[in-house]
């Protein structure tokens, strides 16, 4: 048995009409990990999930889930996966319970087993009190949790979550993150797609950055963030005129330093260890603030593509990455 739950090799998809959604995607997801596909709208995340969950056929390449080929052994794949798609797929004319119960029956559970499994899934998702209400009365967050309950009722070994927190408010998003981490603790392998860098960063063991149908980087969040030059120490001198003095001092000690406004940015690989040395070096300068800034995945994406993950977001929050 392979240590990988999902293996994807050179996956390609051309939609009827000619859109090339995937142009050779390869990655592997280890058993028990949360693996994220991080990329902007149209990158090919949903297409990847649809192929892996046997909904669409690839134009080229191979994909296996728990060793089963998604095209030739689609029936076996379907037995071991759960899918929460980007759009709502519950029946909002029925109650939450009925939605989950029917799902359980479709996986071959008997009436009694299905009822028990449905209640357990609903309870796990915190929906037991709303179970007998029609889904049309649910909030956005509740609907998402119901979708997950529906996808969990047959205890799948691999779970696909396509943009699970899209459109949710901050509180529901955090709630859902907690539940996703709970699932991981139960041993479920999770492939998650998102265009929120914070989500990928917080939840994932490993992240693949996807753009225009290609994976452009894979690694743990930490590894990826190192690509933007590791961490940085920001020093804000009391008197802005002192900035040059600091820069000169640090440069002479071999540091990679630049100025961003009135702040001195020192790129370091391991900020928490370096910080004491750096503070000592500028001891004689009056400093307002010294801080360690961790690079984030948004910066990684910006560095690799020159684009932002969420295009409409104001660029004021963007920091200029070092291009090397």
């Amino acid at each position: 048995m392979s240590e990988y739950a999902i293996e994807v090799e050179d996956l390609r998809k051309v939609y009827p009409g000619g859109v090339e959604a995937l142009r050779g995607v390869s990655f592997r997801v280890r058993k028990g990990e949360i693996f994220s596909l991080l990329g902007p709208n149209g990158a090919g995340k949903t297409t990847t999930v649809r192929i892996l969950s046997t909904l669409y056929k690839p134009t080229g390449g191979v994909a296996r889930v728990l060793g089963y080929d998604v095209v030739r052994e689609s029936g076996k794949v379907r037995r071991v996966i759960g899918v929460v798609s980007q759009e709502s797929t519950s029946d909002d004319e029925m109650t939450g319970f009925d939605n989950v119960y029917i799902q359980a029956r479709l996986y071959g559970l008997s009436g009694e087993e299905a009822r028990r499994a449905a209640w357990e899934a609903l309870r796990f998702m915190g929906l037991e009190n709303a179970a007998n209400r029609k889904v049309s009365t649910y909030s956005g967050g509740m609907k998402r949790r119901l979708e997950i309950a529906m996808s969990l009722v047959h205890t799948p070994q691999v779970l696909f979550l396509d943009e699970p927190t899209l459109g949710l408010d901050v509180e529901s998003r955090r709630e859902l993150w907690k539940l996703i981490l709970d699932l991981k603790r139960r041993g479920v392998t999770i492939l998650l797609t998102t265009h929120y860098m914070e989500e990928a960063d917080r939840l994932s063991d490993r992240v693949a950055i996807i753009n225009e149908g290609r994976i452009i980087a894979v690694g743990t969040p930490e590894e990826l963030k190192k690509k933007v030059g590791g961490e940085a120490i920001h020093i804000a001198p009391m008197d802005p005129q002192d900035a040059d003095k600091i820069i000169e001092r640090l440069k002479s000690h071999g540091y990679d330093v630049r100025k961003a406004g009135r702040i001195v940015v020192v790129k370091v690989d391991d900020a928490s260890r370096r910080i004491t040395e750096i503070i000592k070096l500028v001891e004689d300068v009056e400093v307002l603030e010294v801080g360690v800034v961790k690079p984030n995945l948004e910066e990684v994406f910006l560095l690799l593509t020159g684009r932002r993950l969420i295009e409409e977001e104001p660029s004021t929050t963007a920091r200029i990455p070092t291009r090397r």
């Binding site: 969950s53 909904l55 669409y56 056929k57 996966i81 797929t89 479709l106």
Partner: protein, 281 residues
């Protein structure tokens, strides 16, 4: 496969019954059909005796027997309402068939179909549940329709037995299965519900009017007779009349054979094309 089909059928029926107002309206529909078509198209009222005749009891009775003789020739019963309501059962089934298409399009648009397709159920059970749901609907509603028609004056044939009722039901079910198969396969390939509604009206009205469902074929213009005689709805309506009101059918076994063959072809074609759509994306 049977388990999955029954589970999905359970969902269809639960949805139908759950939508209380819609469910009640769907139960009233057959009553409205009978009341509107049956009583407004009361051809018999055209044959009221003229005033001079009506006043003379002897003339009136002769007139009445002449009219009845003519009615019997045309409709196989002295009562048009009886003729019409038995044909109505078939026409009604025709329109219920649209619901297979409508619910498939809804499941497609709501994403529910995608959810079903990632479960390990056989694809054909999705299709089968839609056809069976129509059959269940038609069975319930036709029963209501028949009971209401009887209450409003429909005369069943003398000594009607369980076998006759079963025969009529089977014919109605065949119509429902055939027509819902047709709309099911269209709906898997169509992207909008308008396609199904438009095609439904385009197809259902001529199927209903150019058949013996409402009027005897012999009374139609000759070009229409040709269509009506080839129209499977005519076979179905004639058979239902045979079972319910005892009107003679010209080619009993031929009618049954053609109907069964056509519905079988539609079922197979529809199942095959529907499954093909589900597997070819």
């Amino acid at each position: 496969m049977i388990g999955a089909t029954l589970t999905l059928l359970y969902r269809e029926i639960k949805k139908w019954v759950n939508r209380k107002p819609v469910f009640v309206v769907s139960l009233i529909t057959p009553i409205i059909w009978i009341a509107l078509f049956g009583k407004s198209l009361n051809l018999q009222s055209l044959f009221q005796p003229p005033p001079g005749v009506a006043q003379n009891p002897a003339f009136a009775s002769v007139y009445k027997s002449m009219v009845e003789k003519r009615m019997l020739e045309l409709f196989g019963t002295t009562d048009y309402f009886t003729y019409m309501s038995s044909g109505m059962l078939v026409a009604f089934s025709l329109f219920q068939g649209l619901f297979s298409g409508v619910s498939i399009i809804f499941d497609k648009r709501l994403g529910y179909l995608d959810r079903l397709l990632v479960t390990p159920i056989p694809r054909i059970s999705i299709w089968a549940s839609k056809i069976l749901a129509v059959i269940v609907r038609v069975t319930v509603l036709s029963t209501i329709l028949l009971v209401v028609a009887i209450a409003m004056g429909m005369q069943l044939k003398e000594g009607i037995g369980l076998v006759d009722l079963l025969g009529a039901w089977l014919v109605i079910v065949l119509v429902a299965a055939g027509i819902s198969s047709l709309y099911a396969m269209i709906s898997f390939y169509a992207s909008h519900q308008e396609v199904v509604f438009t095609l439904g009206n385009l197809l259902n009205l001529p199927l209903m009017f150019a058949s013996s469902a409402l009027f005897p074929v012999e009374q139609m213009p000759s070009w229409m007779q040709k269509i009506a005689k080839a129209n499977p709805v005519t076979y179905a309506a004639d058979l239902v009349r045979h079972y319910l009101i005892g009107r003679a059918v010209n080619d009993y076994w031929k009618s049954i054979g053609l109907l069964v063959a056509l519905v079988a072809v539609l079922l197979v074609l529809s199942a095959w094309l529907s499954v093909r759509w589900m597997e070819s994306r």
